[in-house]
């Protein structure tokens, strides 16, 4: 079965600092991978998805970027964080044959 690992679990960053959140997948190959953001008390906003190495689709224009350097690695980055980037970030993987999204435990980002 597929397992999604995310880190760090929690981080507090000053405005203007860079960001790197990492997501790795265990137990499957060639999954579709997703980054979601959830603001406090809100629904999930799809940020990026990837269907393969180097293939990134962006859903929302913003100061975030994503990369997929390896099949099982998905990275969310920012060069300069904004206050509005605060939130709960979730990585998820989707294996078409299994038809189920598997989520990581999430990374809580607070920008001060």
């Amino acid at each position: 079965s597929q397992t999604i690992h995310q880190w760090p679990a929690t981080l507090v960053q000053p405005v203007g600092s860079p960001l790197s959140l990492e997501c790795t997948v265990e137990g499957t190959s060639n999954p579709n991978l997703y980054w979601y953001r959830q603001a406090a008390g809100r629904g999930l906003q799809l940020l990026f998805y990837s269907v393969g190495i180097g293939q990134i689709s962006s859903e929302v224009p913003q100061n975030l970027s994503a990369s997929r350097p390896q099949d099982r690695q998905f990275i969310l980055s920012s060069k300069k964080l904004l206050l509005s980037d605060s939130g709960f970030y979730l990585c998820a993987g989707f294996k078409a044959g299994a038809n189920v999204l598997t989520f990581g435990a999430g990374s809580r980002l607070t920008v001060l």
Partner: protein, 111 residues
């Protein structure tokens, strides 16, 4: 995108009562799924219903699908305090990779 919209946004019930939440979608679906999110955690898959199914059961969960109305409902019977969570639906059918979720239904089960 394959987005579902859940309602109500919030639901509060007493332990032992049944909880019903609904999901509407705009496009033709292939598979509709329900997920649960405990506060501060990732989402967990609950149940999947295929477009050619009308009803599906899993333990205390019952999901129905009405493709003519483009809607689905999730029923949790004999609710427990541990069922307190947010519930989301999404269409995970083939043809689109944009798996987007609605705002979810926040269920509170009062002991």
């Amino acid at each position: 995108s394959q987005q579902g919209e859940e309602d109500p946004q919030a639901l509060s019930i007493q332990e032992g009562e049944n909880a019903t939440m609904n999901c509407s979608y705009k496009t033709s679906i292939n598979n509709l799924q329900w997920y649960r999110q405990n506060s501060g955690r990732g989402l967990v898959h609950l149940i999947l219903i295929r477009s050619n199914e009308r009803e599906k059961h899993s333990g205390r969960l019952r999901v129905t699908l009405d493709t003519s109305k483009k809607s689905s409902s999730l029923l949790i019977t004999a609710s427990r305090a541990a069922d307190t969570a947010s519930y989301f639906c999404v269409d995970s059918g083939a043809g689109s990779y944009q798996l987007t979720f609605g705002k979810g239904t926040k269920l509170s089960v009062i002991p």
